[in-house]
Point group: C2
DNA sequence: AGGCGCCAAATCGTATACAACCCAAGCCAA
DNA sequence: TTGGCTTGGGTTGTATACGATTTGGCGCCT
């Protein structure tokens, strides 16, 4: 076990590290993010940690409550719906633009993403496969070459990860494979309209795979209220 | 001249104050935002000021360059185009949704905005009228009751203010009056499609009123490169 | 026994201190 | 005169110190 990491890190690196941990569900919604604790891990003082936490709170990944500390955000049901509505508004356009602009290098990057996703899934690293699945959408938005909307999409996908942690119902991630594969085909063929449609239905699929009914007092909701710190270590490879 | 303001302010208040100053073009693109200076104005230490500046930099209103300080952002031509493309994607939908959901109270708020805009314009307060004109769009997005997209719109409008400061060509703001009025009519009548169309053409209008050609080496561009501190004083009333 | 209030430990919010760094003015040499 | 180098002032980056607030536990009263 790595005890301490004496090498100091920058605020961006810390934000990136926490972001990854949230994406990969090693940190669940409601988890406490103590400043001293994080500072000890990364070998910096609270000043830098606070900057990182503020950055994450501006991305709505973290909620800061005055005099109480920072916690991994717990999107409400309403927010969850709005996130997917926003994605349904933005991402089909991005897929369309991507299909119209993608070159061979871009398509290879997309295929590489899918491959990595499959590998992670086969190795049982569910968190990582989820992370990569999000990255696929981000990569697609980047190919569309509209940086601002791509930035919005990135934020929405980060929040989606939290939503999935809270409200996911189905187990099978197989639909993902299929949907992403079909998307690549359309993009590679330059079929913009088809890519947009596929993306739309993919998002509707995802949205409908959530359990967003008001009184879903499942075990997830319990954890949300009790908010145990639930630390996982588990150094990922590199 | 008000010398000092001994009452301490919170980071959010400072960010709000700076944001307003940028919106109203009292602070132009490229202006230096010294931490000590701002701290002295608001009666707080650099710690709080830094938090405010970081918040603004996450909204892309301010650029922080390491060891050099914070400056009011200077959107590139490319960014300018993308901002208006993104607005053209989001805002018509918001206008449509607003038209479908607006109640009488909401419409009264919109009318009040227009009235305030006219008042400011008549009083020659151009900066303020620009600020209110942006607020109109934000209010419309809020009425649409999609908080997340409304947040995106808010960010885009803030950046639009910078873009207008850098690249505005026409003088007349009269088109605004007309366009906003027509929008309210459509919203009040519940004509969603028409509101969306009006919003779209309004945005295209705005976009085309910018001078985004590459080699526009006007005085604006010069100021951008030389980046003199160009302090504006000019205490506005209140 | 149960509820209420006080106290202590822990954590956050802000200010301040010091180190690192950038920029500009001044100097020297070519 | 011009170019590069050095040095000083000023500004930012980070750490640390201290005050403020919350929280959980302990004891006391009912």
């Amino acid at each position: 076990m790595t005890e301490t990491r004496p090498v100091p890190a920058s605020a961006e690196q810390i934000a990136e590290g926490l972001s990854r941990a949230i994406h990969e569900h090693r940190l669940g919604p409601g988890a406490k993010l103590g400043e001293d604790e994080i500072g000890a891990v990364y070998g910096v003082s609270r000043t830098v940690v606070r900057a990182a936490l503020q950055a994450l709170s501006h991305q709505r990944l973290v909620t800061i409550r005055r005099h109480r500390g920072a916690f991994v955000a717990q999107p409400s049901i309403r927010e969850a719906s709005e996130v997917f509505e926003a994605r349904a508004l933005l991402e089909p356009r991005m897929a369309q633009a991507a299909a119209e602009r993608a070159d061979t290098a871009a398509i290879m990057r997309l295929r590489a993403h899918i491959a990595a996703e499959h590998t992670a899934l086969a190795a049982g690293m569910n968190g990582r496969s989820l992370y990569l699945s999000g990255k696929f959408h981000i990569e697609l938005a980047r190919i569309a070459d509209q940086r601002i909307v791509a930035g919005f999409v990135e934020e929405l996908i980060a929040r989606s990860s939290l939503i999935i942690a809270l409200y996911w119902r189905r187990q099978s991630a197989l639909c993902e494979r299929h949907a992403h594969h079909a998307l690549i085909e359309a993009v590679a063929a330059g079929q913009g309209e088809r890519a947009a449609e596929l993306m739309h239905s993919h998002l509707v699929d995802l949205h409908s795979a959530l359990d967003l009914r008001e009184q879903s007092y499942g075990p997830v909701r319990l954890r949300e209220i009790l908010s145990r710190s639930l630390e996982q270590d588990g150094e990922a490879s590199s």
